[in-house]
C-alpha cells in the first residue's frame, strides 16, 4: 500500500486511463496453418529434424523398444525411471522422490513423451505417468526418450491443441545448447548433454 491505494488498483486504473477511448474489439486473423494431416513423411521429417539438433535418433518397431533402451545405456548404468513407464529398463532406479543431489549421482533417465512436433523436431513432456516429474529429465546427463510414431504431429498448433495448459510441460528440441561464446554452438550446458530419441512404430 502506498498513500492508502493498493498497487493493483493503481495499475488497473492507469491501464484504463491509458487505453481510454481506444478500447475496441480486435479481430485476430487465424489464416495461418492450424491443422495439418499427419502422413508417413511427417514421421520421417520428425526424425530428420530431431537429428538436426545433434540428438541421436533410433527408429524401431514397438516390440524392439526394450532392446533399444538397453542398447542405449552404458553398461551398469544407474538410470532413474518414472512411475508408469511401460518398458523394462536395466539398472532402473525408481523415482522415489529422489533429491537433486541424488539425481546428480545417476547416469541417466528413460521416459516416454506426450507429443512430437515434426516441423520443429520438438518433443513435449507433460510430466504425467511414464514421463515423471520435471527434475528427473533435467539433472542426469543422459536422457533416453521414447516417442511413438502415433504421437507425432505436423506443427506447433497441432501440439498446442493436444496439451493441457494446467499441467507443467517441457518442450525439448535437441540437447541443452548455448551460443553465448562468439556464437559457437556448444551442446550441453545444464540440461542432459546427450539426448537419445527412440522413435517407435
Amino acid at each position: 500500500m502506498r498513500d492508502g491505494v493498493s498497487a493493483r488498483d493503481d495499475i488497473l486504473r492507469d491501464v484504463r486511463r491509458a487505453v481510454g477511448e481506444a478500447r475496441r474489439p480486435v479481430d485476430v486473423p487465424r489464416d495461418y496453418r492450424r491443422e495439418r494431416v499427419v502422413e508417413a513423411a511427417t514421421v520421417d521429417l520428425f526424425a530428420e529434424r530431431v537429428a538436426d539438433y545433434r540428438a541421436e535418433v533410433v527408429r524401431c518397431s514397438l516390440d524392439e523398444v526394450e532392446a533399444r533402451i538397453a542398447a542405449a545405456l552404458p553398461p551398469h548404468a544407474q538410470v532413474v525411471v518414472p512411475d508408469g513407464l511401460p518398458w523394462a529398463v536395466p539398472g532402473a532406479v525408481p523415482d522415489d522422490r529422489l533429491t537433486p543431489a541424488h539425481l546428480d549421482g545417476l547416469d541417466g533417465v528413460v521416459t516416454g513423451a506426450t507429443v512430437g512436433i515434426a516441423e520443429t523436431g520438438t518433443i513435449v513432456l507433460s510430466h504425467g505417468p511414464g514421463e515423471g516429474r520435471r527434475a528427473i529429465t533435467l539433472v542426469p546427463d543422459l536422457h533416453v526418450c521414447v516417442v511413438r510414431a502415433d504421437q507425432v504431429v505436423a506443427g506447433v498448433p497441432d501440439a498446442i491443441r493436444l496439451l493441457d495448459p494446467t499441467r507443467p510441460t517441457t518442450w525439448i528440441s535437441g540437447p541443452s545448447a548455448t551460443s553465448d561464446i562468439e556464437l559457437d554452438r556448444v551442446e550441453g550446458v545444464h540440461g542432459p548433454r546427450t539426448l537419445l530419441v527412440i522413435l517407435a512404430g
Binding site: 498497487a7 538436426d52 512436433i117 495448459p165 561464446i181
Partner: protein, 489 residues
C-alpha cells in the same frame, strides 16, 4: 522507473567511443551477420510467416486494448492454481517483493534465469544491497556478472566479449563466487561452457529460491512460459522450493492456444532456430513436482505510460526476440552499451523513452535519434512494430517537450529557413553567405586534409552530435546556372 546505466552519456557520445573500438566492431559484425543469416534461413522455410506475424500483432493489440480485463483474469487463474500474485507499480516495489520472499525463507542467495524484466528493475543490485546474492545462471549473463560488466545484446548479452576475455574472467573471478575455474581451462567454447556447468551446478543443487521472468503469461489458464536454450532456466524453475517470477503486465496472452503463434514467431526470430532447446510452462503449484511456493509479480514500471501513447503503445507488443538489433546498421556499428539501457537497438530507442517519458533526461531524449530510419527493424519484427514511425513521433515529442519556455534550436532554425525559402532575394543572399563560408572552410580544412565539418558551432551543434556536416557548396546551383547556363555540367 527504468534507469539509465549509471553515468551513461547520451547516445552520440557513447557511440563515438564504441566506434573507436575495433575489437567490439569486429565481434558485433560477426555476431549480427551470423544471426541474420540463421534467421533468414529458418523464416524462409515457413510459408505462412506473414500470416503468423499478422496474427501475432493482432493478439498483442487485443491484449493491450483490454489489458485490465486480461490482468484480472490472469490473477484469478494464477490464484486458483496456488500462486501468490503481487502487483508492483515500479522497480522499487517489485524488488521489495522479491527481497521479502527471500528474507521470509532466511536465504542469502537466489538463482536467476535470464530475464529482461529483472535486469530492467536492477534486481541484482537491490538484493546485493540487502546482503542477498543473486546468481545469474545464463552463460552470457554469468560472463557479464563475473566481469562486472554491462549486457550489450538482449539475446547474447556478452557478445562484446571474445573467448580469450571470457577465459580470463572465469579464471580470475569464479573462485570468489563459488567453485573455481579448472586450472587447465582453455579458451575453447566447449571447455568454457563446461566450466560454467560445474560452477553453477553446485548453486542449482543447493538453491532454495529461484527468480525468473516469463516470456508469456496465459490469462485463461494461469500458465507462465519461459523460453531458453541452456537448461539453466529449467534448473531455476524446477529445483528450488520457492519460485518468484517478475512479469511485465504486457506479457499476458488471452488463451493457451495463442501460444501456437508465438512459439513459432519467437525462436525463429530470436536465435534463428526452428525451436529453442527448452521451453518450460507451469501453472502455479504442481503438487509433488517443482516449487511448492510460487509467486508472480505483475510489473508496471512505465508500461502504463507507454500504453497511453497512441503511436508508441505498439512497442508493448515486443516479445524481446532481438531480431531488430541484428538488422540495425546503427546497432551493428555502435553495440548495445551506447544505448545506456538493458533494452538496446531499435526497440530500445523507442521503448526506453516510452517507459521513462521524454523531456526528463538528455540520454533518453537522444535515443529516438539513434537511427537512420532505414526500416529494416520493422520488416523483421515478428509482431510488426512500426519502429520507424514510433521513432519519428518520439522525435517530435522530444522537440516539443517543455524546457522552461526556451524553444529548441531546431524550431528556431526551421523558422529562419521558412523565412529564407519564402523570398527569392533572401534565398539568394543566404546562398552567397553559404558559398563564401564553403570556400573559406574548404580552404582551411583542405590544409588539414579533411573534407567535412565534424561539428558545427552554435545552434547547429546538436545536429552534428549525431552526424558529420558536409561543407557548404562553394557555389549555389542558381549562381552556377546563371554563370554557365548548365554548359559545363
Amino acid at each position: 522507473m527504468t534507469s539509465t546505466f549509471v553515468g551513461m552519456p547520451a547516445f552520440p557520445e557513447a557511440a563515438r567511443t564504441a566506434l573507436g573500438d575495433s575489437q567490439l566492431r569486429a565481434n558485433l559484425a560477426h555476431a549480427t551477420s551470423t544471426i541474420r543469416a540463421k534467421r533468414a534461413r529458418v523464416v524462409g522455410e515457413v510459408d505462412d510467416w506473414e500470416q503468423l506475424r499478422l496474427a501475432g500483432a493482432a493478439v498483442k493489440d487485443d491484449v493491450l486494448l483490454h489489458l485490465d480485463e486480461h490482468l484480472v483474469r490472469l490473477e484469478e487463474a494464477l490464484t486458483a492454481n496456488g500462486a501468490v500474485v503481487h502487483w508492483a507499480r515500479d522497480a522499487e516495489e517489485a524488488c521489495a517483493v522479491v527481497a521479502e520472499v527471500a528474507r521470509s525463507h532466511g536465504v542469502d542467495e537466489v538463482v536467476k534465469v535470464k530475464s529482461m524484466a529483472t535486469a530492467e528493475i536492477e534486481l541484482n543490485e537491490h538484493l546485493e544491497a540487502l546482503g542477498i546474492a543473486a546468481w545469474e545462471t545464463d552463460l552470457a549473463e554469468l560472463i557479464v556478472q563475473l566481469g562486472e560488466d554491462l549486457p550489450s545484446h538482449i539475446l547474447v548479452p556478452a557478445i562484446h566479449r571474445n573467448r580469450a576475455e571470457i577465459r580470463q574472467i572465469f579464471t580470475d573471478r569464479m573462485a570468489a563466487a563459488g567453485r573455481p575455474a579448472p586450472d587447465d581451462l582453455t579458451d575453447e567454447p566447449a571447455r568454457l561452457a563446461e566450466a560454467a556447468r560445474l560452477h553453477l551446478r553446485e548453486k542449482f543443487l543447493r538453491a532454495k529460491v529461484g527468480v525468473s521472468g516469463a516470456n508469456f503469461a496465459v490469462a485463461d489458464s494461469g500458465t507462465l512460459v519461459v523460453v531458453e536454450s541452456e537448461g539453466n532456466g529449467r534448473m531455476c524453475l524446477t529445483l528450488p522450493e520457492v519460485l518468484v517470477s517478475v512479469v511485465g503486465i504486457e506479457k499476458v496472452l488471452p488463451t493457451w492456444s495463442d501460444l501456437e503463434v508465438f512459439l513459432q514467431l519467437l525462436p525463429r526470430s530470436s536465435t534463428g532456430e526452428r525451436m529453442n532447446p527448452y521451453t518450460s510452462t507451469w501453472a502455479g503449484v504442481q503438487p509433488g513436482d517443482g516449487p511448492q511456493e510460487v509467486h508472480v509479480v505483475l510489473l508496471d514500471n512505465g508500461r502504463t505510460r507507454a500504453l497511453a501513447d497512441e503511436v508508441g503503445r505498439q512497442a508493448l507488443r515486443c516479445i524481446r526476440c532481438s531480431a531488430c538489433l541484428n538488422v540495425c546498421p546503427v546497432y551493428e556499428r555502435t553495440g548495445g552499451h551506447s544505448y545506456g539501457s538493458v533494452y538496446p537497438g531499435p526497440i530500445g530507442a523507442i521503448l526506453n523513452p516510452l517507459l521513462r517519458g521524454v523531456g526528463t533526461d538528455e540520454q533518453t531524449d537522444s535515443l529516438p535519434y539513434a537511427s537512420s530510419l532505414c526500416g529494416a527493424c520493422y520488416e523483421v519484427c515478428p509482431v510488426r512494430i512500426d519502429i520507424p514511425s514510433v521513432l519519428v513521433d518520439l522525435r517530435a515529442q522530444v522537440v516539443d517537450a517543455p524546457r522552461g519556455g526556451i524553444p529548441k534550436p531546431e524550431a528556431v532554425a526551421l523558422q529562419a529557413a521558412a523565412a529564407a525559402f519564402s523570398s527569392a532575394a533572401r534565398m539568394s543572399l543566404a546562398e552567397k553567405v553559404s558559398g563564401f563560408a564553403g570556400r573559406l572552410l574548404g580552404w582551411q580544412l583542405g590544409r588539414r586534409g579533411r573534407t567535412s565539418l565534424r561539428r558545427i558551432p552554435g545552434p547547429g551543434a546538436g545536429w552534428t552530435d549525431a552526424r558529420d556536416a558536409p561543407l557548404p557548396a562553394a557555389e549555389s546551383f542558381r549562381s552556377w546556372w546563371k554563370r554557365t547556363g548548365g554548359r559545363d555540367a
